[in-house]
């Protein structure tokens, strides 16, 4: 899913749904669009459900991964109060 363009796929799916509203659309084209739409919907859901999240800390030498747990909320509140 690396190169999956979520926004683009979402817009394409909307476009397909709108196109299929036209009952005069030739059947073979409609079926092709329908198949494409199903595939898009599956991929979109897969993308959403498998979304990865990462937080890094920049420093001059390295960019280190940090976990969310590294943040102690109470400590921070103290610092700012």
């Amino acid at each position: 899913m690396e190169d999956f363009d979520f926004e683009k796929s979402m817009n394409r799916l909307k476009e397909i749904v709108a196109t299929l509203e036209d009952e005069l659309l030739p059947l073979d084209r409609a079926m092709k669009l329908f198949e494409e739409g199903c595939l898009l919907a599956n991929n979109l859901k897969k993308y959403i459900n498998e979304a990865k999240q990462k937080v890094e800390m920049y420093s001059k030498e390295i960019i280190e991964d940090i976990t969310m747990d590294g943040y102690d909320e109470r400590e921070d509140l103290k610092e700012h109060s």
């Binding site: 739409g37 979304a51 999240q53 937080v55 920049y58 969310m68 400590e75 921070d76």
Partner: protein, 446 residues
């Protein structure tokens, strides 16, 4: 107070009250000039604030009973940034261990220096086009690579990450740590804006800071930071302080959010919203294709009906119907020519025409069956029908009285035209006509 050997030991209260005495004695009424900041108005109606200049500050209390004693300013107009001259006595507040001025009179000393400088800077940057709406770039929705300039540890990054995680979209957030207040803040923030721009890794650059006083946030009014944001190749989103805080950095940024939380909400759409949207689109997809197929089915049925109507088979059927009518007409016209009495008793009368009609109808029903052999069977029936008609014609021919005459028969007519059927009808001397196949002869009965 205790005397312990040579030492004189005070309790905290004793020394605090002692200091208070000295302060009140020394400064019974003084005038201080300074800028108002951190002003608060609790329900009690008293006003608390800090008087400050570039190097120092002093707490101030303005009790409600003294609010009437002012010059060029009312107690309602007193706010952060106002440069004022206060009159009052200095005292200590033992419970907090601080000294403060009890204000008895306030005079407006003109616009606060910080505010004045800020207004001048805003005007200057505005003229240079830093705030122009036209130069503001769109911010990508659901960015996957986000650079965040903020304090390494602070409420701002906490709030931001919390919302980002809740949103659930895919991202990498790279924090560019920087002080957000104090002497180093300006230099560090500018440095990080430039670093993120050099890297060109991110899709969007976020600058956030938690809430604070006007002074705390003042670094974001820096001209250098404004300049760095203005020159940023990455689009910049700010979320500095609270809703009411509006710094120069906010004004130069491509998009200003009220708080760090708002920035995260602005950048990412909610995962659940998308899941719902995808579900709805999938349902529409199935509904639309279903409707489309049903519509195609309907027009197909109509086409088949039209095709049948135009088919040679159907036309053939129609022709048969016409033929049947013609045959019927033929019979009728023949009947009118042949004397009815003569053929009434014969086989092939009107009744036989009805039978013929039935046969034709059967043929028609057979024709309507969708069968490959239909044409053949129709042909057969048509052939049978035509031989039948042929036979009929021959038989009818033989019944024609004139044909009988050809074989040597004659019949007798009276002068009235009536045909003589019995010898008893004739008496002597009657004039009669004898009808031959090729003519008539007159005769007299003897």
């Amino acid at each position: 107070m205790q005397i312990d050997g040579k030492r004189r030991i005070y309790s905290v209260s004793e020394i605090t009250f002692f200091i208070r005495e000295i302060l009140e004695e020394q400064f019974p009424l003084i005038w201080i000039r300074g800028e108002v900041s951190n002003l608060s108005r609790p329900l009690s109606g008293h006003i608390y604030f800090t008087l400050k200049d570039n190097n120092a500050l002093i707490s101030a209390v303005w009790f409600k009973s003294n609010h009437g004693f002012t010059k060029n300013i009312s107690s309602e107009d007193l706010r952060d940034g106002k440069e004022v001259i206060c009159a009052g006595k200095i005292t200590a507040y033992p419970q907090k261990g601080v000294y403060q001025i009890i204000v008895e009179f306030i005079e407006d000393a003109g616009i606060g220096n910080l505010y004045l400088e800020l207004e001048l800077l805003k005007r200057k940057l505005k003229e240079k086009g830093y705030f122009d709406e036209g130069r503001k770039r769109p911010i990508p929705l659901n960015p996957k690579k986000v650079a965040v300039i903020t304090a390494k540890k602070g409420a701002a990054i906490q709030d931001f990450l919390k919302i980002a995680r809740e949103k659930g979209m895919e991202y990498v957030i790279r924090i560019y740590p920087s002080s957000v207040q104090g002497a180093e803040a300006e230099r560090e923030i500018v440095n990080m804006i430039e670093t993120a721009n050099r890297e060109q890794w991110a899709e969007v650059l976020v600058i956030i800071r938690g809430g604070g006083s006007f002074e705390d946030l003042h670094v974001f009014n820096s001209e250098k930071i404004a300049h760095a944001i203005y020159n940023s190749k990455l689009p910049v989103v700010t979320g500095i302080g609270h809703e009411i805080d509006y710094t120069i950095a906010d004004m130069v940024a491509d998009y200003r959010c009220a708080t760090p939380t708002h920035v995260a909400n602005f950048l990412w759409e909610n995962k659940e919203t998308y899941i719902q949207q995808i579900d709805e689109l999938s349902i529409s997809l199935y509904e639309n294709i279903g409707r489309l197929i049903r519509s195609k089915e309907k027009s197909l049925r109509i086409n088949i009906r039209e095709m049948k109507a135009n088919s040679p088979l159907y036309k053939f059927q129609k022709t048969i119907t016409i033929l049947y009518k013609l045959v019927k007409d033929l019979f009728v016209s023949m009947d009118s020519r042949i004397e009815l009495e003569k053929i009434k008793s014969e086989k092939y009368s009107y009744r036989s025409v009805s039978k013929l009609k039935e046969k034709l109808l059967e043929t028609e029903i057979d024709l309507s069956l969708e069968n490959k052999n239909m044409v053949n069977s129709i042909n057969k029936k048509i052939n049978a029908f035509s031989s039948f008609v042929h036979l009929m014609f021959s038989k009818m021919e033989s019944l024609n009285p004139k044909i009988q005459l050809k074989r040597g028969f004659t019949y007798i007519k009276l002068k009235t035209g009536d045909i003589v059927k019995s010898s008893k009808e004739l008496k002597k001397g009657d004039m009669i006509d004898i009808v031959f196949y090729d003519g008539e002869k007159e005769a007299v009965v003897k």
